[in-house]
């Protein structure tokens, strides 16, 4: 158990510290574009993806996928380098924050757009019968996109091996879900004939264990499941967002229940400091390597593309 706690803590801390490093690099003017941070949501990425193999399973992410990427590969230079537009980046500077690939993990920047694609990946998994499954991450904003509903219907009709993972942080950008969303997610999902599970993602170990059961069930039965993770985003929607729409009370509740902080308290303090140092060093090293990495050469990157 201690080993598990330390391993989850290390992975979650790597995500949080990398996100903080990204914020710092932005304030120093070293990054272009924008980012969508996932501070506060780390336990879902880590809890779920620790049970998957990106060589066998397919995973789709969204605009807020830094955590998913790091949970899968643990290589901060892939992310930092990508944000700097460097060759060392996950897709060599082609994609930036929102368009990342790592093995069978793919993200894209259109809200909900990867969910029907995940259904197609699940169709391939089923037809090939190699035991692989699909996990599709999306946020509560995507729950109001039409093609996401179409994807649920397709996955249910075709009985595909897919786990839909809703990271519900309550806000679609700045818009409070309560003002835009009729009914509730549970009844929507059940209406599609898909089994629904809920996790108040405040306890990383519990989240990890529940995810293990869900992944195992999808693998065994080959049919769709839906998991809603109630979570909180301490990052702004994007880098320029001062989070005026989030109340003090909500932040206070989640500060007390922050899964990373809670997990940290369950680890031997000496071990914890050691992990913290190692993670800091890993990120520092990734930062330096990313800065040293060259920019892509447009002539090479677009070679043979213009027709």
């Amino acid at each position: 158990m201690n080993e598990l706690k330390e391993s989850l803590f290390r992975k979650m801390l790597l995500i949080r510290k990398t996100e903080q490093a990204i914020d710092a690099l932005f304030s120093m003017g070293l990054l272009r574009g924008t980012v969508h941070g996932c501070i506060g949501q780390e336990s879902i990425a880590v809890g779920l993806l620790s049970h998957l193999d990106p060589k066998v399973d397919y995973i789709t992410g969204n605009h807020r996928s830094h955590g998913h990427y790091l949970a899968l590969c643990g290589e901060p230079e892939g992310l930092l380098g990508e944000l700097m537009g460097k060759r060392i980046g996950a897709v060599e500077g082609r994609g930036g924050s929102q368009h990342i690939r790592y093995k069978n993990f793919f993200t894209n920047g259109i809200t909900g757009g990867m969910v029907p694609i995940a259904v197609g990946l699940a169709f391939a998994q089923k037809k090939r019968g190699h035991g692989g499954i699909v996990v599709a991450f999306f946020g509560d904003g995507a729950m109001n996109e039409g093609y996401v509903m179409e994807a649920f219907n397709l996955a249910s009709v075709l009985q595909l091996p897919i786990l839909f993972a809703l990271e519900n942080n309550g806000f679609a950008m700045s818009t409070d879900q309560k003002t835009t969303t009729a009914g509730n997610f549970e009844s929507r999902i059940k209406a599609f004939g898909i089994e629904y599970h809920f996790d108040q993602a405040t306890n990383a170990i519990e989240t990890y264990q529940k995810c293990g059961q869900l992944v195992e069930q999808v693998r065994r039965k080959g049919t769709p499941l839906f998991a809603e993770f109630q979570t909180h985003r301490f990052s702004g929607h994007s880098k320029s967002d001062p989070r005026e729409y989030i109340s003090e009370e909500l932040d206070a509740y989640w500060r007390t229940n922050d899964p990373l902080e809670r997990l940290g308290k369950e680890i031997d303090p000496g071990k914890k400091s050691q992990i913290e140092l190692e993670v800091e060093k890993r990120i520092e090293d990734a930062k330096i390597r990313s800065m040293q990495s060259p920019f892509p050469n447009p002539e090479n990157e677009y070679e043979g593309e213009e027709k």
Binding site: F106, M114, V119, F123, E150, N153, L154, E305
Partner: protein, 334 residues
């Protein structure tokens, strides 16, 4: 693919794909038996290839996205959109997803979206349009149009090997038409082709090789162009050359230039709305590449296609309008 009609030729192509590509699948609405597709293109295939024809709900965004996912996994889906007009619904999955993956993720995407475009059948505003223009010029989307001159089945097979999404523009009026080599005029025609996978074809009437005018068009309007070519030859001894590319975007310019470089005048013809259309781009590119003759254009007017025949005729390019344009051009030239 030596089948008599366009639709048979196309269906043969689909069959060959299903026979030779173990991971080829057909997706679409009402494409399985007993219906076999709104235009019967996939008739019989769900029986002949069990499990390979996936009849989908009416969720164009959803099942095109599913096709993109299958292609991302390395499968080879062919997705039917029942009417070309419905391709407005799938723009996001094509433009923002499928077209981005080959370059962003360095992974080939073998997927064809095939759909019938075009009017002249009284289907009115939302079932008659030629909306392939939505995808013209989009990076990493190839727009291909077969015709009675260009083996639809063969083009389809090539389209699935491109490694990037292909938007495959069929034409409703073309389905029952005979392939050109099956028609009675065929023996009097001289046909040349340039290009391998998506050839551009040139049709001339034997003995009329010095064109008074050259029509460049594609897809369903090829028949109209050939009818006029024949009519002008018989009635007025006017020589019309017809040039037909099958790859519309990116524009296959060199084969076209090869056929028309020394021709005196061109008439660019498309069924889509003319302003900002395919012929607009073609016009500019021909001029940029040194074509010196005169060029005129005929396309649809930028108006909603009405239901009544007189309204439809007013909007779409028809024989009368085309004939009048040709006559003026030819007289002026003489």
């Amino acid at each position: 693919m030596a089948r008599t009609t366009y639709i048979e030729n196309l269906r043969e192509g689909l069959k060959e794909l299903l026979r030779t590509e173990v991971e080829a699948f057909l997706l679409g609405e009402d494409i399985a038996e007993p219906y076999g597709g709104a235009f019967k293109v996939t008739k019989g295939l769900s029986t002949e290839f069990p499990g390979r024809v996936i009849q989908t709900p009416m969720s164009e965004q959803g099942f095109v996205g599913m096709g993109m996912g299958m292609a991302l996994a390395g499968m080879k889906p062919v997705v039917e959109i029942m009417f070309g007009d419905f391709s407005t619904l799938i723009v996001d999955q094509l433009v923002n997803h499928g077209a981005k993956f080959p370059w962003l993720y360095k992974t080939p995407m073998h997927i064809v979206i095939r759909t019938p475009m075009g009017g002249y059948r009284g289907y009115a505003a939302t079932h008659s349009q030629s909306l392939e223009r939505l995808f013209f010029g989009q990076p990493n989307i190839k727009v291909v149009a077969p015709s009675i001159l260009q083996d639809p089945g063969r083009l389809l097979i090539h389209s699935l090997q491109q490694g990037l999404p292909v938007f495959f523009v069929e034409n409703k009026l073309d389905y029952p038409r005979k392939m050109l080599e099956q028609t009675k005029n065929f023996q009097d025609l001289e046909i040349q082709r340039r290009g391998l996978e998506f050839p551009t074809a040139q049709v001339q009437v034997a003995g009329f090789e010095e064109p008074d005018l050259t029509i460049i068009t594609y897809g369903g309007l090829v028949q109209m162009a050939l009818d006029l070519q024949w009519k002008f030859m018989i009635e007025e001894e006017v020589a019309i050359k017809v040039v037909v590319p099958s790859q519309l975007s990116p524009l296959a310019l060199n084969p076209i230039l090869g056929f028309i470089r020394n021709d005196p005048q061109l008439l660019l013809l498309e069924e889509g709305v003319q302003p900002f259309g395919w012929t607009s781009e073609l016009y500019v590119r021909l001029k940029e590449n040194g074509f010196e003759g005169s060029v005129s254009r005929v396309g649809s007017k930028p108006l909603v296609i009405g239901a009544a025949q007189v309204l439809e005729n007013h909007v779409l390019p028809g024989m009368d309008r085309l004939e009048e344009t040709i006559r003026k051009r030819v007289e002026k030239h003489e």
